[in-house]
Symmetry: C2
Subunit: 312 residues, 2 copies
Amino acid sequence: MASNGAQSRFDPTFTQRVVDTMGPNMTQRNREVMSALLRHLHDFAREVELTVDEWMTGVHFINAVGQISTKTRNEAHRVSDVLGLESLVDEIANKIVAEGDVDPTSSSILGPFWSPNAPFRENGGSIIQNPNPDGRVALMHGTITDLLTGKPIAGAVFDIWQASANGKYDFQDPENQAPNNLRGKFRADADGRYWFYCYHPTAYSLPTDGPAYSLLSLMDRHPMRPAHIHIMHRADGRLTKGVQVTHPEYKGCTTQLYPKDDPWLATDTVFAVKDDLVIDFKPLEGDDKATLDLEYNVVLAPKGYKGKQFGP
Amino acid sequence: MASNGAQSRFDPTFTQRVVDTMGPNMTQRNREVMSALLRHLHDFAREVELTVDEWMTGVHFINAVGQISTKTRNEAHRVSDVLGLESLVDEIANKIVAEGDVDPTSSSILGPFWSPNAPFRENGGSIIQNPNPDGRVALMHGTITDLLTGKPIAGAVFDIWQASANGKYDFQDPENQAPNNLRGKFRADADGRYWFYCYHPTAYSLPTDGPAYSLLSLMDRHPMRPAHIHIMHRADGRLTKGVQVTHPEYKGCTTQLYPKDDPWLATDTVFAVKDDLVIDFKPLEGDDKATLDLEYNVVLAPKGYKGKQFGP
């Protein structure tokens, strides 16, 4: 890394001149974001004394990212994930440190595979529509409660999506999976309980045919995500058609759950693992539909709850 | 901008954890560049508390940059130019502060329109192959000399390319311009002199149909480049076929020249103007081929010359 002494040979006014070309007709927020982007981009280039060839490699990389992207493949999203950016943005948006002893459920990244079209299913149902011979069925169940009162949140929505035992989502595997296989929304009952059948999740690799994988290779990193289940919780009344909702609105939560024995937990290629999202599957007896049991309880904060405040 | 206090609510170990996933099998230089990139990217996001919507806007932007790029359109190059990055990389690569009173000719960015195929032409010839009715012809001439000795550099190559009076290069305007219109290479004579006919340059706008222009619009910036002539100097013997070369090798120089009365000098949209590159066209009498005169002298540093050293 160049020392500050070495950096002094560069024009010290350059970055400010670039910032100052921004005109008056932009929002204060856009000015703040673009000014910081320009300063960090230039500081990065000066700090490493970026060469012409390295810059041009970056130019070609960015063009290649867009060129491989399609309606169902978002490579820029994936690149930002392997750089940790989506996880960081998720933390910035959602981190709440509770004032009491109980923390609300941590959020984690949405990823590129959520669908707005997942159907509502009944508690006790299954999201497994196209069974995979390697799939291990689990009964997943738990309660959804209020962070402050500890009371159940009747009618809260639990949205789940996961890859099949071959590591692929329905979008990626139309030959074996019908749309909405391994997707579903469930509504908590009067006691805040939900229950349904899903798979023990399977670890998988990010696609290895594009720029995101080239970048991982450059960094000598593996492309594996630990096995995980995607979940999203809402309790805002929007999706509780025909059901009387008596609770206040809650802050929604999008997150992921990880089996505690997964070998990729510490090096998740998109940096989306958090301690309270690590779960423990147990053997299940007496249920002819499943061999595993997973209890998972959700804690939601009321909308507008800020938790402990930091800073000035 | 968030204060340091507000930033403390984010996990202080996150960025280091991402950096630490890089494996042992990468070059030291790639590790240095990627570590700095990750730190600046994350610091930027935390500093502005980047929102999910802003991040996703950036993701869509990067995909769009690649999608509009073709063999003859490099939008990522253009975006990096409007952010000042190519100019900065050029400064990092080429800045020399001389130890004596004379500085070598400043470099400036190559831009996307140089061609390796420009033909050699004779001194006294013209690069104007397809005249434009609005073009103002200039006799451009000068000497190419050695920074340290002041002596002429016989056989030095002067490569020039410029847009026509409609603001377009041959690549962009095949209906009006044959390949290599307004391009040519000239070789300095025994006294280091070169001379040829070209146009007074014309200001032009970057393309307004892509993401680079969207970004300029967001920043309330214009898309104009000041009028300029691209030039590239070499004196390394490589391109002096059949000519006896007695001088040592010189550090090549790629740069641009700008008429002093151009209204866009101070706000060049790619930040490529430097004081010693601003030139003065004068009226020319007694030459039936041109109405303007441009004298421009080039000073090249010997290869390996470092100039004043900075830093520890």
